[in-house]
Symmetry: C2
Subunit: 449 residues, 2 copies
């Protein structure tokens, strides 16, 4: 296991789940989530701090109960393309659904971002757990778990096939011979699978990374298996240290079981650090944040999101958690089933379950800079992550971490003091995939014109 | 009719149809079509010259016989998002297919570009005429003309419905009252049509233009009718002065027949001006360009593109043009039917038809700066266009036009001397559409946060 920690920045905008009150903070611009200037500044701050990546989450369904940031935010690929030309080193990871996109278009957009950014594109593959999404794409019913994950696996395989359409030396652009393209180095894919038929070739050459980096956020069995098969990065659920250890070991084991090097899948846990001058001040601030964000109605709506945007408000709040297992099957991520299990095991009321929702992402990294650095090191040494996906409420919080914690991590040799590469693969220590049509090792550098 | 000409720039990259030899020009970077720096410079040069828009064409199918620029180019929306933050006034028009995209995703991406650019996004709606495109999207057969155009019309209607999801004042973001969104100002679309079922709402607020500007390139009956119903800009076929007059009058008449103001559809003809110090030098240069680009095999392949990537190379070149009318129906644009008609009427051989292909876009604007300005004025006064979509082979050619012709047009009051607005609508003189859910006039400015 590498002794270097990877850090990513997940911009909150005006606030997602568990940050219902964030938009009220006077330091948060009310239009942050649709202001490209906000994202450029976030990316530049993260790059200044030598972070590996900017990580942009996404979804394709809302109703009026959804968190502020979800209601009104820029689309990740247009956002990251705009950010790309204002940064030089930081990776640009965008979330896109394999359920509600087509492989040709999406593979092309990520390859385009990889060209635009000079090799810094990453794709966070999600299968869309909001059941309502289906109705934005002409389907009455959301695809079930197995179909969505089967489709996701095949989608990534097709995308990778399309990304290999051109060999790296396909474009001699030889004026003397009058040859721009060597047609023997352009390959059709002719994929025919269970979910997709895609002929190819892609109308875009291999990008500087060979292929954009694949991220995934696998929680369920299907998700973990998908990640182990194709992911090179994971946005992990976190939880307690023991839960994170179990997840980390499980993913690395599964990855090896698919014949892959477990070093080639980097596991990021969520971290919303609360850093202050003293441990006590940090704990006080954490309590304040919790109080600010603990909006019961919002939490009830958020709870509903895990059950297909189900409206729980008609139920008796103080009766036992209702029987909604049937709703968890299609839309809900594993969280939904786990909630039901826990509600039964602990005999919780609907109110108690809803109140627990905003605590899901309580950060282990709370305290003075030394304390936070110690905790990070402890968790890292315990085999819980390769990287942390950091989210900050305000620029002040980002600064407290970058100025306070990062130098300690650097002093301990746990974090880089300069970028090793200009590509996301390079900084994550991931290999450039060889083109399937090319014999011999793939060159590490750029493609032909 | 407004006395002001609109100008757009259509970047050629390493060369599309009719510019087969362009990549060999030492002034053209071999990677221009995948270099975001090239596009940023083109946009900045066009903005410096006060042009209305950068116009990026696109397609989603290639084979090795396709023009150099088609083989390997950036995807328009990622490209334009990157360009957006390096420009301030120029419109950003991207081509995207209504046949091979879904309304929710595409509407969102264009709205996102409109937010990122501060109100400069335009969507050139195409239906994809390369029949092979279908095989990149899981279909054995390309959709036929009528279906594609019916789908295009409904697609634009759905997109516009989604763009109106939020009223302009939907986000009070009122900290005192604790109200970020006013839920009464968020509207579901619940569209159920022949081609699409889309519930909405879109997860993005109205953009600075209210709605991105719709462009179209209607040549056929179906295309002209679609344009007249929904387009606010057209990339017209051009041809002779008489043909352009007929087209212009026809589109304006059709637009009025749909109850629309004919001033609210701006017709751009293609112009690849050849400017030189003298008329004779320009004509000589035009001949050179023609000779450079007149690659018979490429033209034969290009001809095939209008007939579903049909391979004509097995036919006798000197026999009468073969009977390929059945191939023109699905994939070919109207050009295909027109070619067949002309071949029959003039009794042309396959060789003669193929040789004619590279001349389709011969520019009327050839000569010394004064001559070109005269011709532009003559064509404009003759009612052939509202704007010209200019394409230049090299930066030298762009400069010759901008430094030579533009000042003459300005002196004659035919072209702006400063931008009137920071939005594409503003510069084109197009109204900001009122939100369908809002009573009273829509504010011209920006949306809520």
């Amino acid at each position: 296991m590498s002794r270097t920690i990877h850090l990513a920045l997940h911009p909150y905008g005006v606030g997602g789940p568990g940050q219902h009150g964030l938009w009220k903070d006077p330091r948060v611009a009310k239009n942050a989530s649709i202001d490209i200037g906000y994202y450029i500044k976030q990316a530049q701050a993260a790059e200044h701090a030598l972070f590996d990546a900017l990580f942009v989450v996404d979804s394709q369904f809302i109703n009026a109960t959804y968190p502020s940031h979800y209601l009104n935010r820029l689309e990740p690929l247009t956002l990251l393309s705009a950010v790309a030309t204002h940064t030089r080193h930081i990776g640009l990871v965008g979330t896109a659904s394999s359920t509600y996109n087509s492989p040709f278009n999406l593979a092309r957009r990520f390859a385009s971002l990889d060209h635009i950014s000079g090799g810094r594109a990453g794709w966070n593959v999600v299968t869309s757990f909001d059941t309502g999404t289906s109705r934005n794409f002409g389907l009455d019913e959301h695809l079930d778990y197995a179909t969505r994950y089967g489709r996701a696996l095949e989608f990534v395989q097709v995308a990778r096939g399309l990304w290999d359409s051109y060999e790296d030396d396909a474009f001699p652009a030889d004026v003397a011979r009058g040859v721009f393209l060597d047609p023997a180095k352009l390959h059709e894919l002719n994929h025919e699978g269970e979910h997709f038929k895609v002929a190819g070739p892609l109308n875009l050459s291999r990008s500087p990374q060979g292929q954009p980096v694949i991220f995934q956020a696998g929680v369920s069995e299907e998700g973990r298996d998908l990640a182990a098969q194709v992911a090179e990065g994971i946005y992990a659920p976190g939880g307690s240290l023991e839960q994170a250890q179990e997840y980390y070991a499980d993913i690395k084991r599964r990855t090896a079981s698919y014949g892959r090097d477990p070093e080639h899948i980097k596991i990021f846990i969520h971290g919303g650090p609360v850093v202050a001058a003293t441990d006590e001040a940090a704990r006080r601030r954490e309590r304040e944040i919790f109080d600010e964000d603990n909006d019961f109605d919002r939490n009830l709506a958020l709870l509903g999101r895990s059950f297909g945007a189900y409206d729980f408000s008609g139920h008796d709040l103080d009766a036992p958690f209702p029987d909604v297992a049937h709703l968890a099957e299609k839309g809900g991520r594993t969280g939904a089933s786990k909630l039901i299990e826990r509600a039964r095991a602990e005999n919780l009321t609907l109110r108690q379950v809803a109140e627990s929702v905003s605590e899901f992402r309580r950060s282990p990294f709370v305290g003075a800079p030394d304390t936070v650095a110690d905790t990070i090191e402890k968790w890292f040494d315990a085999g819980t992550f390769d990287g942390i996906n950091l989210a900050f409420r305000t620029d002040d919080d980002l600064e407290l971490f970058v100025d306070g914690v990062v130098p300690i991590l650097q002093k301990r040799g746990l974090f880089r003091t300069e970028y090793a590469a200009d590509t996301l693969r390079g900084n994550l220590g991931l290999p450039v995939p060889a083109n399937r049509h090319t014999h011999g090792p793939a060159p590490a550098g750029s493609t032909g014109p």
